[in-house]
């Protein structure tokens, strides 16, 4: 399969490393600012909810962490798939870097969701609720990916085997998303991600909501790039470009 030229640039570790190094600070600082603004807005400026009062404010972190977790898994699965099919090591590096971040965000989503559930639905957790079960499955898929990798001594083998798992598990992401439509769950129907109609959230809440989505996304990519850089260094040990980079910095 003939691929465009720029695609090959992204298969080059030094190129990606240096690009990441250049972009990361921008992502990091803007993430910090956006999250700070969004959190302040959501906690102190936005009005209380008609039904839930003040506790609704978890809406400014819970859906965002869940969304980032799902995006992280999709990115991991796509990169792992690309790495598997075209044998591009860098793609596997992206997958490996995304996994712990995605697991963390998914963990946050589960925890903030449970905390939110207690005062609103009356329970921290509901076994058998589809969205909760599949979100928990997502966390296990991240952990399983990492555990599977750890069981191999040969990194290439670890890459390829875990790639199969990552791709198999990607069906879970649309299942989580559509679970509220397909089943009767404790969760409410989608208000913002439902693209066929205008969001039903009030604008005074929608703005900080979206700000936090942006902020968490920027944060994710900053974390990803930094982890990717570390991963590239580990994989490219002994290569000339890396030695030049080290000398450059130290000389």
């Amino acid at each position: 399969m003939k691929l465009p030229r720029w695609f090959h640039r992204f298969g080059s570790p030094p190129y990606v490393y240096n690009l990441s190094d250049a972009i990361a600070p921008w992502l990091g600082w803007s993430a910090l600012v956006v999250i700070a603004v969004g959190a302040y807005w959501g906690l102190f400026v936005a009005p209380p909810d008609f039904r839930q009062g003040e506790v609704y404010r978890i809406i400014y972190i819970h859906p965002q962490t869940a969304y980032v977790g799902m995006m992280a898994y999709t990115l991991m699965a796509v990169s792992a798939g690309i790495g598997f099919i075209w044998r591009i090591k860098l793609a596997h590096a992206v997958g490996v870097s995304a996994a712990p971040i995605g697991a963390s965000f998914t963990f946050c989503a589960l925890v903030t969701g449970a905390i939110w559930g207690r005062p609103t639905w009356g329970t921290y957790w509901e076994w058998g609720d589809p969205r909760l079960m599949f979100e928990l499955l997502l966390l296990f898929l991240f952990l399983g990916y990492l555990a599977l990798r750890a069981a191999f001594d040969d990194r290439d083998k670890a890459d390829r085997v875990s790639a199969v798992l990552a791709v198999v598990g990607v069906v879970n992401v649309p299942i989580i998303h559509y679970s509220v439509e397909w089943w009767n769950t404790l969760h409410q129907d989608p208000t913002v991600s439902n693209l066929s109609e205008a969001p039903s959230m009030d604008i005074s809440m929608l703005i900080p909501f979206l700000i936090m989505v942006l902020g968490f996304t920027l944060l994710f990519y900053w974390l990803l790039l930094r982890r990717l850089q570390a991963e590239i260094i580990e994989r490219e040990r002994g290569t000339r470009w890396l030695r030049d980079l080290a000398n450059e910095g130290a000389g």
């Binding site: 589809p130 499955l137 898929l141 399983g144 599977l148 069981a151 083998k157 085997v161 199969v164 198999v168």
Partner: protein
């Protein structure tokens, strides 16, 4: 070529299975032992307290959970026999290198595995259901639901087996990877059985089990073949 390969591998695996009965027999005995022994660990008084409306000592609800979980674990036990012995003695490599399409080989193995490991389970589960005093509609439902669930279980277990074929501590990884993937089966299967117990229609979960089965059987073997190839590298 594909069908011939399927038939040949299917026949071969079946013949091997009948020579090594304990390979697939032990997981079934495990199922009988676990689900049969569970009531021994429970005191009748506490069960009576946990009883729902019209339930016999709460045993029935417990029984549904135990039967499904034991069926799942028993399926997991049969993981090794799918690929390990073939990889170890080199025949898997020969199969991969042969002109036979690997997908046919995988389907052949899955079919043979299902026949000896899953089919008996479909008959065993309602029999053990007697122990939990499940009424006949529930017994029929659990057998049917297990029947619908087994293709997916077979495929998922095979994915786990293919991924871990050369790993030292496969068991831990499998627990982390395969069991959570099986959780939808558990949820829907148990739900269908409980609905049947209450006398309600269980079409919803059954449809879901069926669609999961179709999904698994159509796409799963592709992943399994890929994993087997990687495992042999």
């Amino acid at each position: 070529m594909p069908f011939r390969a399927f038939r040949l591998v299917f026949g071969r695996d079946l013949r091997i299975a009948f020579r090594r009965v304990s390979e697939w027999g032990n997981p079934l005995l495990f199922f009988i032992a676990v689900s049969g022994m569970f009531p021994l660990a429970l005191s009748p008084d506490r069960l009576m307290m946990a009883a729902g409306e019209g339930e016999v000592y709460g045993l029935q609800s417990l029984g549904i959970g135990v039967l499904w979980m034991a069926a799942l674990l028993s399926s997991l036990m049969g993981l090794d026999r799918l690929f390990l012995s073939d990889v170890e003695d080199g025949s898997m490599e020969q199969l991969v290198l042969s002109p036979a399409p690997l997908l046919s080989v995988v389907y052949g193995k899955l079919a043979a595995h299902w026949l000896v490991s899953a089919l008996p389970l479909i008959f065993l589960v309602p029999v053990l259901g007697f122990v939990y005093q499940l009424p006949s509609p529930a017994l029929g439902m659990i057998a049917f639901a297990i029947f619908l669930a087994t293709p997916t279980l077979t495929v998922l277990v095979a994915i786990g087996a293919a991924l871990t074929v050369n790993i030292r501590s496969a068991a831990a990884v499998i627990g982390l990877v395969v069991l959570p993937l099986c959780s939808p089966i558990l949820i829907f299967g148990a739900r269908a059985t409980v609905l049947a117990l209450d006398g309600d229609a269980a079409a919803g979960p059954l449809y879901l089990l069926t669609s999961l089965a179709f999904l698994a059987v159509s796409l799963g073997p592709i992943a399994i073949a890929a994993a087997v190839r990687v495992g042999l590298e």
